[in-house]
C-alpha cells in the first residue's frame, strides 16, 4: 500500500464518520459534501496510474456526482408533463433539502400575467394641489399677509381664507373665489404669467377666476405618471431578484409578466407591487372642531363618539389645548382577543369591514374640499402579556394638502428600538436636503400640533410636535403584531420606500396565468430539433474520430450537465436566449475537442510517438482554446454587466458555459488520453485515422 492510498483510506474513514454525523444532525449539505469527499478518496485509492492522475479523476467524478445531486429536483421539474405528472421522481429527502432549481422562463413555461391600471387622476390632483399652494402663497403676498419667503404658516392661511378661497372641484380645475368681488383684480397679468405655461384661464363668474390645467400639460402629466409607475414597478420586481420578469405598458395600463408557477412567489410579487408607498405628512386640523359639529343623531350604531384632549398649538409660548370629538369603531369582541393564524385572517377581514363602515359614514358628512378625513388603527394593549392588538379605527380631521411627501425621501432603513423593553420595529427615513428644510420649517411652525404620517391612505401615527425637528429624519413605527411579523412588514416598507413611491395608485384590473409565449407546439418542435441537432453532432464526432470522438461526446454531455447544475444552484432562469448561450458553449466545447484531436493527428502524421503527439497536441491546441474562451468570456462579462433582459440571460449562460467548457473539454478529456497513453499503453490511438 502506497502512502497516498493510506491517506485516501483515512479520508474515506473520516468522511464516512462525518457523513454519519451530518446525517444524524440532519445537515443535508454536510452529508452531500462528505459523500463527495468519500467518492473522491475512493477513486484516489484505486490501484491504477499515478496518484496525481487519480486525484484529478477523483475530483472529476465527485464534480459529476455533485452536479447530478444538485440537478435531481430540476430533472423532476423538467420531466413534468403539462398535467403536472412527473416522469422522473426525485427522492423526497433531496427534494426537501434542495430549494433551488432551473426555472423555465416566460417564453418556455408561461407564468403570471398581471394588468394594472394606473389611476392617473391622482397624479393630476397632486399637480393641481401644487398650483393651488403656489397661488395661495402668491395671493397671500399680494394681501400683505405673507412676506413671500418660505411656506405659509397656519395663522396666515386662516387670514387668507377670510379673503379668498381656492376650490378644487375637479381634478384639473382650480376655482379662485374672492369674498370681495373687487379683489378679482389681484389676478393680474403678473399673476397669470407665473402660471400661463401650465394653466389656462377659463370663463369666470362674478368675483371668481377659474383656471384649468392646459391639455398638453394634462396629457404630459398622465403619460409621466404611467412611465414613472412602470419604472417603479420595474425597480420593485428587480429588488425581488426576478431578472426575467417583464414589465410593459399599454395606454394607461402596466403589464407585469412573471415566469414560473410558484404561487407563493406570485403572492409576494402582487403584494410588493400593490404597495403604493405613498407617504404623506399632513397636519391634523384640531382648531376647527369638525367632528364636534356633526349631529349626534346621525351617527349610526357601532360608531362611537369619543372625546380627547387635543393640542391646539402655541399662543405666545403658552401651549393651548381643547376638548375635541372624534369617531371610532371597534371590531366585534369575538374576533378581538384571539391570536392564532386563522384568527388573523378573520381579524384582517373584520378590520377592513369596520373601516368600510366608518368611511361610509364619513361620506355622509360634508367635508370641505380642502380637508380630508384620515383613519388610524386603534390598539388594545394587554398589560399582562405586553402585547398590543389592533381592535378598530378612529378618525382624524386633516388638512387636505400634503406638507411633505415621499418624493423627498432619499433612504429608508429598518431597525428595532429596545428601549421600552418591548421591542418596537420602525423604519427610519432620511429626507433630501429640500425635504429636510421643509420638514424643519413645518415642525417649527406647528409646535404643539399633531402631525399625521400617512402611508397608503391610512394614518401610521399622528404624534404631537414637541419641538422643531431638524436633520431631515423621521421614523415610521410598525405598530402592533408579533415582532417577526413586524420585521417582515418593515422589510417590505423599506423596500418600497427605497424603490420610490408610485406617483399614482395602481389598481389590479386583470390577473391570469398564461402559457408559454413561444407556444407549446413551437416548444415541442424546438425540443425535437434540439435533440436531433445534439444527436447528429455526437454521432458525427464518433464517426469521424472513433474512440476520441466518444471521449469528446462524453465531455460535451458532461459540459451540459455541469452548466445546468451551476445555473440551477442560483435558481437561474432558462429562456430561449439562454438556450442560445448554452448552444454556443456546447459548440465551443465541441470545437475545443476538434482542435485537440486535429492537432494530435497532425503530430502523429509528423511521425511523433503517441505519447509525444498527445502531449504536443494538447499543448499547442491549448493556446487557441484559451484565447477563444477568454475572448468569449470577456464579451459574456460585459453583456451581463450592461445588457438587459434577453441579453443578460444569454450572457449568464455563456459565462457559466465557458468555464464549464474549459474544464470538461480540456481538463477531463486529457485524463482519458493520459490513461490510454500511460496506463493502457495503447499501440494505436483511436483518433479516426491511421498513421
Amino acid at each position: 500500500m502506497t502512502s497516498s492510498q493510506r491517506n485516501s483510506l483515512i479520508v474515506i474513514a473520516v468522511s464516512g464518520a462525518a457523513g454519519y454525523a451530518f446525517y444524524s444532525a440532519d445537515n443535508f449539505w454536510g452529508l452531500v459534501l462528505s459523500g463527495l469527499a468519500a467518492i473522491w478518496a475512493v477513486v484516489t485509492a484505486l490501484p491504477v496510474m499515478d496518484s496525481a492522475w487519480r486525484i484529478k479523476v477523483g475530483f472529476v467524478v465527485a464534480v459529476f456526482f455533485g452536479s447530478v445531486v444538485a440537478l435531481l429536483p430540476t430533472f423532476e421539474d423538467l420531466s413534468r408533463t403539462k398535467d403536472g405528472h412527473a416522469r422522473f421522481h426525485c427522492p423526497t429527502y433531496v427534494r426537501d433539502n434542495i430549494t433551488f432549481g432551473v426555472v423555465k422562463g416566460l417564453d418556455l413555461q408561461g407564468g403570471l400575467r398581471l394588468v394594472y391600471t394606473v389611476e392617473v387622476e391622482e397624479a393630476l390632483r397632486d399637480k393641481r394641489d401644487k398650483f393651488a399652494d403656489e397661488m395661495r402663497q402668491s395671493l397671500a403676498t399680494g394681501y400683505n399677509i405673507h412676506t413671500g419667503e418660505g411656506l405659509l404658516k397656519q395663522p396666515e392661511l386662516k387670514l387668507l381664507d377670510e379673503k379668498v378661497h381656492i376650490y378644487t372641484p375637479e381634478s384639473a380645475v382650480l376655482r379662485i373665489k374672492f369674498k370681495d368681488p373687487a379683489d378679482v383684480k389681484m389676478i393680474d397679468d403678473r399673476f397669470q404669467q407665473k402660471f400661463s405655461q401650465e394653466l389656462a384661464r377659463m370663463k369666470s363668474g362674478e368675483g371668481e377666476v377659474v383656471f384649468k390645467l392646459r391639455a398638453e400639460v394634462e396629457t404630459q402629466t398622465r403619460e409621466r405618471a404611467v412611465t414613472q409607475a412602470k419604472d417603479t414597478v420595474n425597480r420593485r420586481v428587480d429588488e425581488l431578484g426576478l431578472r426575467e420578469a417583464s414589465v410593459t405598458t399599454r395606454d394607461e395600463d402596466i403589464i407585469v409578466e412573471v415566469p414560473g408557477s410558484n404561487r407563493a412567489q406570485f403572492e409576494e410579487i402582487k403584494e410588493i407591487i400593490r404597495k403604493t408607498a405613498r407617504l404623506e405628512f399632513k397636519m391634523v386640523d384640531d382648531e376647527a372642531d369638525f367632528f364636534g359639529k356633526v349631529d349626534e343623531k346621525s351617527v349610526p350604531e357601532g360608531i362611537e363618539i369619543r372625546i380627547e384632549n387635543a393640542p391646539l398649538g402655541e399662543d405666545k409660548g403658552q401651549k393651548q389645548n381643547a376638548r375635541r370629538q372624534f369617531f371610532s369603531i371597534k371590531i366585534p369582541a369575538e374576533v378581538d382577543g384571539k391570536s392564532t393564524k386563522e384568527d388573523e385572517v378573520v381579524r384582517v377581514k373584520a378590520m377592513q369591514a369596520a373601516l368600510d363602515k366608518l368611511k361610509e359614514f364619513v361620506k355622509t358628512l360634508d367635508v370641505p374640499d380642502d380637508h380630508t378625513v384620515g383613519y388610524e388603527k386603534t390598539e388594545d394593549y394587554d398589560p399582562d402579556t405586553g402585547h398590543a392588538t389592533e381592535d378598530g379605527w378612529r378618525t382624524f380631521y386633516l388638512r387636505g394638502r400634503a406638507d411633505v411627501t415621499g418624493e423627498y425621501i432619499t433612504d429608508a432603513q429598518r431597525s428595532i428600538d429596545q428601549r421600552s423593553g418591548v421591542p418596537e420595529v420602525y423604519v427610519a427615513i432620511t429626507f433630501s436636503p429640500a425635504g429636510a428644510d421643509r420638514f424643519e420649517q413645518i415642525t417649527g411652525d406647528n409646535i404643539n400640533r399633531r402631525f399625521a404620517i400617512i402611508l397608503d391612505d391610512t394614518i401610521n401615527s399622528a404624534p404631537v410636535i414637541r419641538s422643531k425637528i431638524g436633520g431631515g429624519r423621521a421614523s415610521i413605527t410598525m405598530g402592533a403584531g408579533d415582532p417577526d411579523q413586524q420585521l417582515k412588514s418593515a422589510e417590505k416598507l423599506e423596500m418600497v420606500l427605497r424603490s420610490g413611491a408610485l406617483p399614482a395608485p395602481i389598481q389590479l384590473s386583470n390577473e391570469s396565468i398564461i402559457g408559454p409565449t413561444l407556444g407549446d407546439d413551437a416548444i415541442a418542435k424546438g425540443a425535437t430539433g434540439a435533440a436531433a441537432g445534439v444527436g447528429l453532432v455526437l454521432m458525427f464526432m464518433v464517426l469521424y474520430y472513433r474512440g476520441s470522438g466518444f471521449v469528446a461526446d462524453a465531455a460535451v454531455l458532461f459540459n451540459l450537465l455541469l452548466q445546468l447544475a451551476i445555473l440551477a444552484s442560483f435558481s437561474g432562469t432558462l429562456t430561449l436566449p439562454g438556450i442560445a448561450g448554452l448552444a454556443l458553449t456546447v459548440g465551443m466545447a465541441v470545437d475545443a475537442n476538434v482542435l485537440i484531436n486535429e492537432r494530435i493527428r497532425e503530430e502523429l502524421r509528423a511521425g511523433r510517438s503517441i505519447r509525444a503527439a498527445v502531449e504536443a497536441g494538447y499543448d499547442k491546441a491549448f493556446t487557441a482554446i484559451v484565447d477563444g474562451h477568454v475572448t468569449i468570456f470577456i464579451s459574456g462579462l460585459i453583456l451581463a454587466q450592461y445588457g438587459t433582459g434577453p441579453v443578460k440571460g444569454f450572457a449568464i449562460t455563456l459565462i457559466i458555459g465557458i468555464v464549464a467548457s474549459l474544464f470538461t473539454s480540456v481538463f477531463c478529456t486529457r485524463l482519458v488520453f493520459d490513461y490510454w497513453v500511460r496506463g493502457a499503453k495503447v499501440k494505436r490511438l483511436s483518433v479516426g485515422a491511421e498513421f
Partner: protein, 406 residues
C-alpha cells in the same frame, strides 16, 4: 475518416480581391437594407394588435397559428394560451399589424365629438356632449374621450357613426364609460382585431370561434429602442475589451481584424433577415450575440495558427503564412462549422416560428463567421501588417537599426 489530406497548402489569398469585394458588397448592401427598407421589427419592438379569445371548442395553439398565417393578411402571430379555471380554450393572439385611421378621419371624429366647442349655441353640440379631450390609441382604432359630466352613450354612438367610413366594433359595451370619476368614455372602432376574428372564423369554423373577442387591444412594444441600444452598446463595449485582450495576447495588428469580422457577420445576418422579410424580435438579438461569439472564436483559432507560423517561418510573406495557416486549420474549420451547422439545420427543419427564424440566423451566421475569418480578418491583418511593418521582418529590422544612434 479524414476530409483533407495533410501538407497541401491551398492558395486562399490569390482570390482574395474577389472575396473582399464580395464582403464589401454584402456589407454595404446589408447596411443599406438596414436603413431602406429597414428591419421588419416584430411585436417585441413595435407593438401590435392583441386579441383575447375564448374558443367554444378546444383548439390547439399550432392550429391557430396556421390559420392566421394561412390567411396571408397577417404576420406570424404569437399565440399564448391563457389558463382558466374551467379549462376552456382561451388564447392571446398577437399580430404586428395595427389598424390605421388616417388623419382626415381622426379630425372628422374629433369634430363629430364636439371637441373644444364653446359658446351657448347648442344646436349641433349640446353642452353635455362636448368632449374635453379625444385621444387615439397608437393604431387609432380606440378612442379615449373625456367629458365634464357623464354623457349619454347612445348619443355618442350616433355622433361617431355619422362620420363616413367609420364603423363601431360590435360589442354590447361600446361605447363604454371606463372611468366614472373623470367621465372617460372608450370608443372602439372596427379594427384589425375584428379582421383577425373574421380570419379565424373562416379558417376554424363558426362553431369554434365566438362572435366577439374578450378583448381587442393595441399592445405596446415589450422591448423598445432602449433595449436595442443597450444591446448594441454592450456589444460595442465588449468588442473594445476584446481588442485590448487580443492586442496583449497577439499584437495590435490582429485586433482590428476580429472586430471587422464580427461586425461584418452581425451586419450580414441582419441583412439576411431584411431580405427574407423575417421579423426582428428579441430572439434575433440572441442570434446576433451568438454569431458574434462564434465568429470571434473562429477568427481567434485562425489567428493562433498565424501567430504560430509567424514564429516558425520568418522568411515567408504574410500572405503565404495566411495560406499555410488557413490550410492547416481547414479541416478543423470545416469540422466545427459542419458540426454546428448540423445541429442548427435540425432546428431549422423541425422548428417553427421564432425558433425557425432563430435557426435561419444561425445558418447564415455560421457561414459568414467561418468565411469572415479567412477573407475578412486575415486580409485586414495582412494589410495592416504591410502598413505598419512586421517586427523582425527585414524592413523593420532595418528601420530599427537606422533609428539607433550610430
Amino acid at each position: 475518416m479524414e476530409f483533407f489530406k495533410s501538407h497541401k497548402v491551398y492558395d486562399f489569398m490569390r482570390m482574395r480581391k474577389y472575396w473582399i469585394f464580395l464582403s464589401l458588397a454584402l456589407t454595404v448592401v446589408s447596411i443599406v437594407l438596414l436603413y431602406y427598407p429597414g428591419p421588419n421589427y416584430g411585436t417585441d419592438f413595435r407593438g401590435g394588435t392583441e386579441i383575447e379569445v375564448a374558443f367554444l371548442k378546444p383548439v390547439d395553439g399550432g392550429k391557430i397559428r396556421e390559420a392566421v398565417t394561412a390567411s396571408g393578411q397577417f404576420s406570424e402571430p404569437d399565440v399564448v394560451q391563457v389558463q382558466t379555471k374551467d379549462e376552456s380554450s382561451q388564447f392571446l393572439i398577437r399580430v404586428q399589424e395595427i389598424s390605421t385611421v388616417d388623419n382626415a378621419t381622426k379630425e372628422a371624429l374629433k369634430k363629430a365629438l364636439c371637441l373644444g366647442v364653446e359658446g351657448d349655441d347648442e344646436t349641433t353640440c349640446p353642452k353635455e356632449l362636448r368632449a374635453t379631450e379625444v385621444k387615439f390609441s397608437a393604431g387609432g382604432d380606440k378612442l379615449g374621450v373625456r367629458y365634464d359630466s357623464d354623457p349619454d352613450l347612445d348619443k355618442i354612438k350616433a355622433q361617431v357613426l355619422a362620420v363616413p367610413n367609420v364603423k363601431l366594433r360590435v360589442s354590447d359595451k361600446n361605447p363604454q364609460i371606463v372611468n366614472k370619476r373623470d367621465h372617460r368614455v372608450e370608443i372602439q372602432l372596427q379594427s384589425k382585431g375584428d379582421q383577425l376574428m373574421d380570419v379565424l372564423r373562416q379558417e376554424l369554423g363558426a362553431d369554434v370561434v365566438p362572435d366577439h373577442a374578450l378583448r381587442v387591444e393595441w399592445v405596446g412594444p415589450k422591448a423598445g429602442k432602449q433595449l436595442r441600444d443597450s444591446a448594441r452598446n454592450a456589444v460595442a463595449l465588449s468588442i473594445v475589451f476584446i481588442m485590448i485582450y487580443l492586442a496583449f495576447r497577439f499584437d495590435l495588428r490582429f485586433a482590428p481584424g476580429v472586430v471587422l469580422a464580427c461586425t461584418h457577420d452581425a451586419v450580414v445576418v441582419l441583412g439576411a433577415f431584411v431580405v427574407t422579410h423575417r421579423e426582428v424580435t428579441l430572439s434575433t438579438i440572441a442570434v446576433v450575440l451568438t454569431i458574434v461569439g462564434y465568429s470571434m472564436n473562429d477568427t481567434v483559432v485562425v489567428y493562433d495558427r498565424i501567430r504560430e507560423n509567424l514564429g516558425k517561418h520568418r522568411g515567408k510573406s504574410f500572405g503565404d503564412i495566411i495560406n499555410m495557416s488557413v490550410s492547416e486549420t481547414l479541416s478543423r474549420t470545416i469540422l466545427t462549422s459542419g458540426a454546428t451547422m448540423l445541429s442548427v439545420l435540425a432546428f431549422f427543419i423541425w422548428g417553427t416560428g421564432v425558433i425557425k427564424d432563430f435557426a435561419f440566423g444561425m445558418v447564415v451566421g455560421i457561414v459568414a463567421g467561418t468565411y469572415s475569418s479567412i477573407y475578412v480578418a486575415a486580409p485586414l491583418t495582412e494589410w495592416i501588417d504591410k502598413r505598419l511593418g512586421r517586427p523582425g521582418s527585414a524592413k523593420t529590422v532595418k528601420k530599427r537599426l537606422s533609428a539607433k544612434p550610430a
